[in-house]
C-alpha cells in the first residue's frame, strides 16, 4: 500500500467507527433523543467530512476547471441530496462505502499493474563495463559498441553482443517463454534481457542500448496499449455518453414524477441520488483495457509479443491462416532425407558422394558431407583429379575408376541410364565408370511438431490452413500432404504471395480474419498486408519485429494455437465484464427508479462491480495456456 492509500485507510477506520456508533444510536432511538434535528445533522457531518472532504474539494476544483460530470461531483450531489431528504446516516454510509470501494479499486489496480510489470521486468539496470582491466558498474545506455562487458552468474545480459570468453547457460524464458536454458560458448551471439546462468561471460557489445533487443521489446510492449481494440473504443465512446445520460435522467426523475404524480419531492430526490451514484462508468473504463493488458501479458509470458489489443481481438476472429513454407513450416535447412542404392550395388553411395563433394562449397555438397559424417566410422575415400562442372556436378578419380556425382543432366551427358527420381527434393545421382550406382535425395525438412501444431490450430478454431511457396509443385504438395493443409499454392514469385493473401482477405467474411505466418526475412510486405501478420523465430531480427503485428520469439509453431486461446479467453473476459457491469448497473437503475433499490445497492453497483470486474480481468494472466 502506498502512503496515500494508508492515509485513506485511517480515515475510513475513524469515520467507520463513528458510523457504527451512529448507526447503533439510530436503531436504539438514541439519535432522536438528541435535542434537535440540527444537532443530529451536526453529529453526522463529523464522520461525513472526515471521510468525504477530499471528494468535495475535488468536485469544487473540477467544476472550476470546467469538468462537471466527474464522479466526485456526482458523489457530492448524491450525498448532499441524502442530507436534504434527512437521510443523514445514509449520506455518511454512501460516502464511506464509496471511499472503501475506491481504496480497494486503487489497490487492486496497483497490484495487477505490478504483476504485469514484473512479468516484463527484463530491463537490465546496469552493466559491468571493463575499462583498462578495471570493472565499473555503469548504466547500459552509456555503453558504446565494441566495449567489453562482464556478465556475472545470475545477472541480466545488459546489451546484445558476442561472447569472447566463458561458457554458461542462458535463461531466455523472459523473452521466449522457453524454459530450457541455452548453452552458450565463445563466439555465440547473446541477446539482452536473458539471465546468465552459472558461468561468467565476457561479451563484446554489438549494439547500443536503444537498438538492443530488450529496448525494442520494452518499447513494443509499452506501446501495445495505444493500439486499441474495437471493444475498447466502443467503451470509451460509450462512457462519454453514459454519464451525462444518467445524470440527465436523474434530473428528470427528481422533477417530472413529483409534478405529474403530485408525489412527495423527497422520495424522488432520493431515487435521483441513486442514479447519480451509479452514473460513473469506472468499472468498464478500467476493467476493459486491463483485461486486454492481462491478455498481452499472458502472451508475453509464453514468448509471444502482441503489438496491440486490436490484434488480440483479431486473433480471436482468425479464420484463415496462411503460412510461408520455407523457414516457417520447414526448417529452411537442406538435409539428406533419402539414399537410393541400385539393386546389386554394394558400394556406399553416400560415402562416395560425400568424398567427392568434400571439395565443393555448394550448400547441397555441404549437406551431403554433413549427413555422411553423422554415420558411424565415417571415413572419406581418397579421390584425386576433382573437377567441378558448372551446372552438372563433380567428376573425380577414385581408385582408377571415374566417379560422377551430379544432376540428371550430367548423367544424360555421359549416356548413363538411370531412373529419374519423382517426388520432392533435389536429387544427386552417383555413377562409377559410367554405371549408375544410386542417388542421394536432399530436401528441406518439416519442422518437428508442425503437423501437431496445425492440428491444434484447427481445434482452437482456425477453419482453413493454406501454404504459399515459391518452391516446385512436388516439394510443395509433399509438405502440404504431410501437414494435412487445406490449400496450397506453389511456384509463386514473391509478389504473388501478397496478391494471394489479398485474395483470401477479399473472399473471406467480414468477421473472418486472415493471418499470414512468415519468418519475416523477405515477406515483410505480406506480413503487413494480412489482417494479422505473425512473424516467427524473430528474436534479434529487427525487420520482423517491425513489420509483424504478432511476434513469436522462437520458432515454435505450437505457440500459435496457444495465443489464439489466450485471445479468445481475453475476449470472453472482456465481454463478461461489459455484460456484468452494464447488467448490474441497468438493474439497479431500474429498481432505483421504481424505488426498490437503496443507496447501498447503488454504491455496490458502482465500486463493487468495478472491483469484481478488475479481479476478473486479471484471470488471463494467471491461467495456463
Amino acid at each position: 500500500m502506498t502512503s496515500r492509500q494508508k492515509k485513506v485507510l485511517y480515515r475510513i477506520l475513524i469515520s467507520g467507527i463513528m458510523f457504527i456508533i451512529l448507526f447503533a444510536m439510530e436503531h436504539t432511538g438514541g439519535l432522536e433523543a438528541l435535542s434537535s434535528k440540527w444537532m443530529a445533522l451536526v453529529v453526522c457531518l463529523v464522520p461525513y467530512l472526515i471521510i468525504g472532504y477530499d471528494v468535495i474539494l475535488k468536485a469544487i476544483r473540477n467544476i472550476r476547471n470546467g469538468q462537471v460530470f466527474d464522479e466526485n461531483f456526482l458523489m457530492m450531489i448524491a450525498t448532499f441530496g441524502a442530507f436534504v431528504v434527512s437521510e443523514y446516516i445514509e449520506a455518511v454510509a454512501v460516502m464511506l462505502f464509496y471511499q472503501v470501494g475506491e481504496l480497494f479499486q486503487s489497490y487492486a489496480v496497483g497490484k495487477s499493474r505490478q504483476s504485469i510489470a514484473d512479468l516484463m521486468d527484463i530491463c537490465p539496470e546496469y552493466a559491468n563495463l571493463e575499462i583498462d582491466g578495471q570493472i565499473e558498474e555503469v548504466d547500459p545506455e552509456d555503453v558504446e559498441i565494441g566495449s567489453i562487458v562482464l556478465i556475472k552468474p545470475g545477472e541480466k545480459v545488459p546489451l546484445d553482443g558476442i561472447v569472447i570468453e566463458g561458457e554458461s547457460f542462458l535463461d531466455t524464458s523472459a523473452l521466449t517463454g522457453e524454459s530450457v536454458p541455452r548453452k552458450i560458448y565463445p563466439n555465440d551471439e547473446i541477446i539482452s534481457g536473458c539471465i546468465n546462468g552459472s558461468g561468467t561471460l565476457r561479451v563484446r557489445v554489438t549494439k547500443e542500448f536503444d537498438d538492443s533487443t530488450v529496448a525494442k521489446i520494452l518499447e513494443l510492449v509499452e506501446n501495445a496499449s495505444s493500439k486499441k481494440a474495437k471493444v475498447e473504443n466502443f467503451i470509451t465512446r460509450f462512457a462519454k455518453y453514459y454519464t451525462p445520460f444518467v445524470t440527465i435522467a436523474a434530473l428528470i426523475l427528481a422533477i417530472v414524477p413529483p409534478i405529474i404524480l403530485q408525489d412527495n419531492w423527497m422520495i424522488w430526490l432520493e431515487r435521483a441520488c441513486i442514479f447519480l451514484v451509479i452514473s460513473c462508468p469506472c468499472a468498464l473504463v478500467i476493467s476493459v483495457p486491463m483485461g486486454f493488458f492481462g491478455g498481452i501479458g499472458a502472451a508475453s509470458k509464453i514468448g509471444v509479443l502482441v503489438k496491440g489489443s486490436n490484434y488480440l481481438e483479431l486473433l480471436s476472429e482468425m479464420d484463415t491462416i496462411v503460412f510461408d513454407k520455407t523457414g516457417t513450416l520447414t526448417n529452411g535447412v537442406f538435409e539428406v532425407t533419402e539414399v537410393i542404392r541400385k539393386k546389386g550395388v554394394h558400394e556406399n553411395v553416400l560415402q562416395i558422394a560425400a568424398s567427392v563433394e568434400a571439395f565443393s562449397t555448394h550448400p547441397i555438397a555441404e549437406s551431403i558431407c554433413k549427413a555422411y559424417n553423422k554415420e558411424e566410422n565415417a571415413e572419406a575415400l581418397k579421390v584425386i583429379d576433382v573437377e567441378e562442372i558448372s551446372g552438372h556436378g563433380v567428376r573425380a578419380k577414385l581408385d582408377e575408376s571415374e566417379v560422377l556425382v551430379g544432376n540428371i543432366k550430367m548423367m544424360k551427358a555421359h549416356g548413363i541410364s538411370c531412373k529419374a527420381h519423382k517426388g520432392s527434393g533435389t536429387v544427386v545421382y552417383v555413377a562409377k565408370d559410367n554405371a549408375y550406382l544410386g542417388a542421394v535425395i536432399i530436401s528441406d525438412t518439416i519442422k518437428e511438431g508442425a503437423a501437431k501444431a496445425i492440428k491444434k490450430m484447427k481445434i482452437a478454431g482456425v477453419s482453413k490452413t493454406v501454404m504459399l511457396t515459391g518452391d516446385r509443385k512436388e516439394a510443395a504438395l509433399a509438405v502440404a500432404e504431410e501437414l494435412k493443409l487445406d490449400e496450397v499454392h506453389y511456384e509463386l514469385l514473391p509478389g504473388d504471395k501478397v496478391s494471394k493473401v489479398e485474395e483470401y482477405i477479399e473472399t473471406a467474411d467480414r468477421n473472418a480474419k486472415v493471418a499470414f505466418v512468415g519468418d519475416g526475412i523477405n515477406d515483410a510486405p505480406v506480413l503487413a498486408r494480412a489482417d494479422i501478420g505473425i512473424a516467427m523465430g524473430s528474436l534479434g531480427s529487427d525487420a520482423a519485429i517491425e513489420a509483424a503485428d504478432v511476434v513469436i520469439m522462437d520458432d515454435d509453431l505450437r505457440k500459435i494455437s496457444r495465443v489464439i486461446k489466450i485471445s479468445k479467453k481475453t475476449m470472453s473476459i472482456v465481454k463478461q465484464n461489459i455484460v456484468f457491469a452494464l447488467g448490474v448497473k441497468g438493474l439497479i437503475l431500474l429498481l432505483g427508479a421504481l424505488g426498490m433499490a437503496t443507496m447501498w445497492a447503488a454504491v455496490f453497483a458502482d465500486v463493487g462491480v468495478a472491483v469484481i470486474a478488475i479481479l476478473n480481468s486479471m484471470r488471463t494472466l494467471n491461467a495456463k495456456f
Binding site: 496515500r4 496497483g110 496499449s225 495505444s226 473504463v285
Partner: protein, 73 residues
C-alpha cells in the same frame, strides 16, 4: 522528438484518457500517449518546440485532472 516520462500517482484510467486528450491539444505536441498500465507519458513534439515548456504545460493539464499526479522529469 520523442521522449518518455514516468508519471506518479496516476490512479485512474478514466483520468489518464482525459489528460491525454488535453495534452494532445498543446501547441507543438504531435502526439501524446498517457499509458495508465505502465504509468508513462510518451510525448512526441515538433522539432522546433521546447520540450521543457511543453512538459510544463502538460503538467498543468495533468494537475487539472488530478492534483496529486506528477510528471517526473
Amino acid at each position: 522528438m520523442k521522449k518518455k516520462f514516468k508519471v506518479e500517482n496516476l490512479d485512474c484510467a478514466h483520468c489518464a484518457a482525459k489528460m491525454e486528450d488535453a495534452i494532445k491539444k498543446i501547441p507543438g505536441v504531435e502526439d501524446a500517449v498517457m499509458n495508465f498500465m505502465t504509468q508513462k507519458l510518451t510525448l512526441e513534439i515538433a522539432d522546433d518546440a521546447n520540450m521543457d515548456e511543453i512538459v510544463d504545460k502538460a503538467q498543468e493539464c495533468v494537475t487539472k485532472v488530478s492534483i496529486v499526479c506528477e510528471i517526473i522529469r
